[in-house]
């Protein structure tokens, strides 16, 4: 059963990774990242349940992942707003000044 949950987590993570890599719109990239973190949440909860339910460490990872999701959303929207305000763009391709 642990393997099934982890496979689900891997599937969510990979679909999210595909979205984060392939989408042009910053908001859509964020949706991909959300899915990747959802995969992390699933995996952490499964590992807690099937490996070490007596310790709270797995739960703490879930909490940290949920916080990461909130931070990612807030900062993502703030950056999108700032970029859109200054240059009227909303795609990652149009904002690649930092590209090496």
């Amino acid at each position: 059963m642990l393997e099934l949950f982890l496979l689900l987590a891997a599937a969510l993570f990979s679909v999210g990774l595909y979205g984060a890599l392939s989408q042009q719109s910053i908001v859509m990239i964020m949706m991909g990242i959300e899915l990747m973190i959802a995969g992390v949440i699933t995996a952490a909860a499964a590992l807690w349940h099937f490996l070490a339910p007596a310790a709270a460490d797995g739960q703490v990872i879930v909490v940290a992942a949920v916080v990461a999701m909130a931070v990612e959303m807030a900062m993502g929207f703030a950056v999108t707003t700032a970029v859109f305000r200054s240059r009227d763009i909303d795609t990652a391709d149009a904002a690649e000044d930092l590209k090496g």
């Binding site: 099934l4 689900l8 599937a11 990979s14 899915l35 490996l51 909490v63 950056v79 909303d90």
Partner: protein
């Protein structure tokens, strides 16, 4: 029962996840993501963590609705009435994510997972709370500071008007000049 629930939620979660990048309508994409994340919350509940599962659902509902607002605000074609493609390097992305999935799946299936150590406590919510307020206090404090920094940073980045816009060039205006008034008489 648990296995059936797991299967249904898992299929719905992955379907929703795929639909996010298949829907032309941004509203539909956002709510497909919401469906997927709610199913993830369901899986977490299924794993015996009711608090974290329900909190995930609660947070995701509000987060995705806010996301829908930003989608509609920034995308040029939010309702998807004119089909258009907003992707780059699709083949590369597919290859990379396919390889990542294969690698993860191989790891999941090949790793010699140990057996379960100990049993879950009666009240898993209490376990999480006691850990965050005890042994994991440092984690909690760090997360708290991260959230505080996010609040300040996000506000600074997103606000278009600074104090000179609000209070005048020499900051001498007694009341700020805001486009919308508030409810406490400022």
């Amino acid at each position: 029962m648990t296995a059936a629930l797991f299967a249904v939620l898992a299929v719905l979660a992955v379907t929703g996840a795929v639909l996010v990048f298949r829907c032309a309508s941004m509203a539909r994409a956002t709510f497909a993501l919401l469906a997927s994340l709610v199913c993830v919350g369901g899986e977490v509940i299924l794993l015996g963590l009711p608090y974290l599962g329900v909190v995930t659902v609660l947070m995701m509902v509000m987060e995705m609705v806010v996301m829908a607002v930003f989608m509609v605000a920034y995308m040029m074609n939010p309702a998807g009435l004119m089909p258009m493609s907003m992707v780059h390097n699709r083949r590369g992305a597919l290859t990379i994510s396919g390889v990542v999935f294969a690698g993860l799946a191989a790891g999941v299936l090949l790793a010699p997972w140990p057996g379960r150590v100990g049993t879950a406590p009666q009240d898993t919510t209490f376990q999480a709370g006691a850990a965050l307020m005890g042994d994991q206090m440092l984690t909690m404090v760090t997360l708290g500071f991260a959230l505080l920094a996010t609040m300040v940073g996000a506000t600074v980045l997103a606000v278009g008007r600074g104090r000179y816009d609000r209070f005048g060039d020499d900051l001498s205006r007694p009341r700020p000049d805001d486009p919308a008034g508030g409810g406490v008489g400022r």
